[in-house]
């Protein structure tokens, strides 16, 4: 579906690391006029969830004021490594999931 760019650095145990994600999405607000009296229908990403080995570590709800191609960065304390799952769900019910290995040394 959409393109995703993820920056997931290697971490030492106990270190605080910043994880950065960028997803391609128009984030149509629903307020932009079409020119015929109606507006372009709203199509935004509603939420973003990040899980580490099926345990939720970060969640965000998104709203129409957020720009196209939303960039979400957050920090976690590296306690254990494993598979990190990132998923985005939009207004049309489309959902995208990406996985990456989180290496903790």
């Amino acid at each position: 579906m959409a393109r995703v760019l993820i920056s997931l650095p290697k971490a030492r145990k106990g270190e605080v690391v910043e994880i950065r994600t960028l997803i391609q999405h128009p984030m149509e607000t629903g307020y932009r006029p079409k020119g015929d009296g109606t507006s372009f229908p709203r199509d935004i990403i509603q939420n973003f969830v990040c899980k580490l080995n099926d345990t939720e570590v970060f969640r965000a709800d998104l709203f129409p004021a957020i720009s196209a191609n939303p960039f979400i960065a957050f920090t976690i304390k590296a306690a254990q490594g494993g598979t990190m799952t990132f998923s985005w769900t939009d207004d049309q019910g489309r959902s995208q999931t990406e996985t990456a290995d989180f290496v903790v040394e």
Partner: protein
């Protein structure tokens, strides 16, 4: 006592050399729009996983390999690996096209290729596919100095571009030079006026929330001074691009850049 003083003097002499200035030359006062941006926007451009322009580059990479037109050929079939064959190409456009008998920019050249080699319809100007391909080709020159070709056939067009750059137009009666030469570094409402060096096109503009070409940027300025903008692909735009690129000779290509 005399020696340390001489040494200090030598150091004073050497300092501007480190800044890239040779003897007898004035220091380069040209600044890319990158240097005028906020630290956050700079970080966004530097990091390929945070730069939204990279989406266009990745789309362009896919299009580079995709077969198109009745010839069933992809860009890669002729040009091979873009990382080697397209290195430095974006730094020397606009160039003179023998096919059109006129200067063309990179987007124009891609469309010439589509028509003559792939036998496909040209991609719409300012459309996503053409911008993506241009961004992908431009990305291969990132970090290289802008090097306009030394071609006499381009000279009249470059002069036309310079004249357009200095020509007052629109209801506000401003030329490009009025802002970008006379008042560069000052502000226009809340925004800083850059010197207007086209080093990172096509670029991701936060205001556009998308990728756009230099022609779109020029169009924005023309509308800003309430002049009638030229249509995309107009020879006036190509002439302006030629002049602006020669003005930025030696500056680094930043494609895909990020601007506010």
């Amino acid at each position: 006592m005399k020696r340390p003083a001489a040494f200090a003097l030598a150091l004073l002499w050497a300092t501007p050399l480190i800044g890239g200035t040779a003897f007898g030359q004035t220091p380069d006062a040209r600044r890319s729009g990158f240097e005028e941006m906020s630290r956050e926007s700079q970080a966004m451009q530097r990091d390929d996983t945070a730069n939204p322009g990279m989406f266009a580059v990745l789309d362009g990479e896919e299009l580079w390999k995709a077969k198109a037109g009745s010839a069933g050929a992809s860009c890669a079939d002729c040009h091979g690996n873009a990382e080697t064959s397209m290195k430095g190409v974006a730094a020397r456009y606009p160039s003179f096209s023998a096919v059109r008998n006129a200067p063309v920019d990179l987007q124009g050249q891609i469309n010439i290729c589509r028509e003559t080699r792939q036998h496909a319809s040209p991609l719409p100007l300012e459309g996503h596919d053409l911008l993506a391909l241009t961004a992908y080709v431009g990305r291969q020159s990132r970090g290289m100095p802008i090097a306009p070709p030394d071609d006499v056939r381009l000279e009249p067009f470059r002069r036309q571009g310079e004249a357009l750059y200095k020509m007052r137009q629109g209801q506000l009666n401003f030329s490009c030079a009025n802002c970008h030469e006379d008042h560069a570094g000052q502000s226009l409402a809340g925004s800083l006026i850059p010197q207007g060096h086209p080093s990172g096109y096509p670029l991701y503009r936060l205001e556009w929330q998308g990728i756009g070409s230099l022609q779109r940027r020029l169009r924005g300025c023309l509308v800003g001074v309430r002049a009638e903008p030229y249509s995309y692909g107009a020879p006036e735009y190509i002439a302006l691009e030629l002049f602006l690129m020669s003005r930025a000779t030696g500056m680094s290509v930043e494609t895909p850049a990020v601007r506010p």
